[in-house]
Symmetry: C2
Subunit: 345 residues, 2 copies
Amino acid sequence: MSLSDPTGLHRVVDRPVVLPQAAARLDTRRELWPDEVRVRVERLNLDAASFRQLERAHGGVGEAIRAEVLEIVKARGKMQNPETGSGGMLVGTVEEVGPDSPLGLAVGDRIATLVSLTLTPLVIEDGLEAWDGLSEQVPCDGYAVLFGRSIAAVIPEDLPAELSLAVMDVCGAPALTARIVKDREDASTVAVIGGAGKSGSLSLAAARDAGARHTIGVVPHEAEAALLRESGLADTVVIADARDPIALRDAVLSAGGPADLTVVCVDVPGCEGGAILATAPGGTVVFFSMATSFAAAALGAEGLAADVTMLVGNGYVPGHADYAMKLLRENDGVRGLFEGRLVGA
Amino acid sequence: MSLSDPTGLHRVVDRPVVLPQAAARLDTRRELWPDEVRVRVERLNLDAASFRQLERAHGGVGEAIRAEVLEIVKARGKMQNPETGSGGMLVGTVEEVGPDSPLGLAVGDRIATLVSLTLTPLVIEDGLEAWDGLSEQVPCDGYAVLFGRSIAAVIPEDLPAELSLAVMDVCGAPALTARIVKDREDASTVAVIGGAGKSGSLSLAAARDAGARHTIGVVPHEAEAALLRESGLADTVVIADARDPIALRDAVLSAGGPADLTVVCVDVPGCEGGAILATAPGGTVVFFSMATSFAAAALGAEGLAADVTMLVGNGYVPGHADYAMKLLRENDGVRGLFEGRLVGA
């Protein structure tokens, strides 16, 4: 048996070896390397961009969506949508802990993984029979493996698991938003595109928590606007189609912009230009949407002669899960939006 | 006639209107809006990622490559490779200046455009008959249109035009590299992946110019290593395949890394993981390659639990062309590498 690597290289089947996230196939054997942890899976939470792509590809037919997820996981040894490249996360209970695991987990801990399903060895054992294929929340029996450098968070006992999971799934966004607002003294006006969504509402809460003086929430239609207004998370709420760059720019301007920091949290393609135009010269755009096109962002800014700093939204910031849970506990507005979405789903 | 917009919206044929860079088709009429400039084109410089894709798609057959470029420009009214989304830039002579143009250009000025061909209305009038289809430098007779917010630089008379053009084509990279090194006091070790290339060599020169204490140039093979060593632009030169994350990490570590700032300048896909692994916790990665995958960068960092700031390389930084020309004039190493590449092309 080869030595294990904390990044999971030892589970990569591809030759030459690539990182687990880039791999076509992972080794899903049950037996653990000494620094690994095996988890009994109870639920998968598919990435929103991935689930939407599956929905579109199969015309919303649940059985076909389920069949494709099963096929992907069987073929790749992990859940990674070949079209979007994205995965999601999972909830489960620790089943076995290798003697050298540095994760601090114990058998029986109920956890959520904070690394993507795109690099997590996964075996589905129940054919996803309890899932109708119509929601990104997927009841599932099977097992998954965590590496030495994987990140997992124990689910708080005082909150519903679905709620904790939904928060942890997007916890990178509020942590990075807060860091940027704190690091940049001039980041006083923050616009969040998709402000009523999961990562969007947390990012609005984080911006205010970190000291932003004016927060703007952009939403696509009146129903979302009403939700966001009721939550009280944004100083100003405006409606705009984020794919229409001129409309987005004008909406943010009308709401007190341009923004010093624009946070893109909507999982639809084509929002790069509007986000750039909505941002003040010298400002920052951070893209959390997996639908972001690198070329559209880079060439869009160049083509507009826009001096903005553009960040790839890194899903990992130290302490991100704890910070997101704190925002949830302290903000009735965040909690209300999340609970409303879970009921609606 | 509709009013013009400095971003060129008035030339977008698509409905609903999108930004010129995202448009399927631009209006290429000769007549100018009052804030526009028309340029007589003498040469196109195709983006490296775009030219490589065309080369691969047509098995290196020059006539087929030429035919496809003509077809793209005819269909779209601009040169934008549908596969890579990228374009390039052009050189030409100012033919007419609208009365309200803010660009400060005069009829007869020989200029290079610093906005991408992906948003520049272009008409080719000579069928590219002087181009063999085998190089990204494309002799061309035709005309192009600049908008109010376009950026163009007058070509210095004391340097060969090809040299100035090659430098201006990548001038965003050194400007942004220098800015990051200056802004971050801890960015003392800078690794440039693809250090012997055009944007790479300028980025190495910029890092040193901005105060980096140790510069590392990563190149794919010994021939490039010899070129880079001779140039003197990097304190240490190492050879690694940037698509192999473990090899790249180990190469940068062996050369004095991890890097506080890693600059990715190679136009091949799959370099995200290695760049992340080569970067110190808390460090920065800036991606200048159009082959960068947003999802691979975002999920790669998350999957590695890597606390790195990742920037989309914005091709526009105020003063970027002047700064790059200064680096060229002051560094025999940069000039030697550029001149060698022009002869080789």
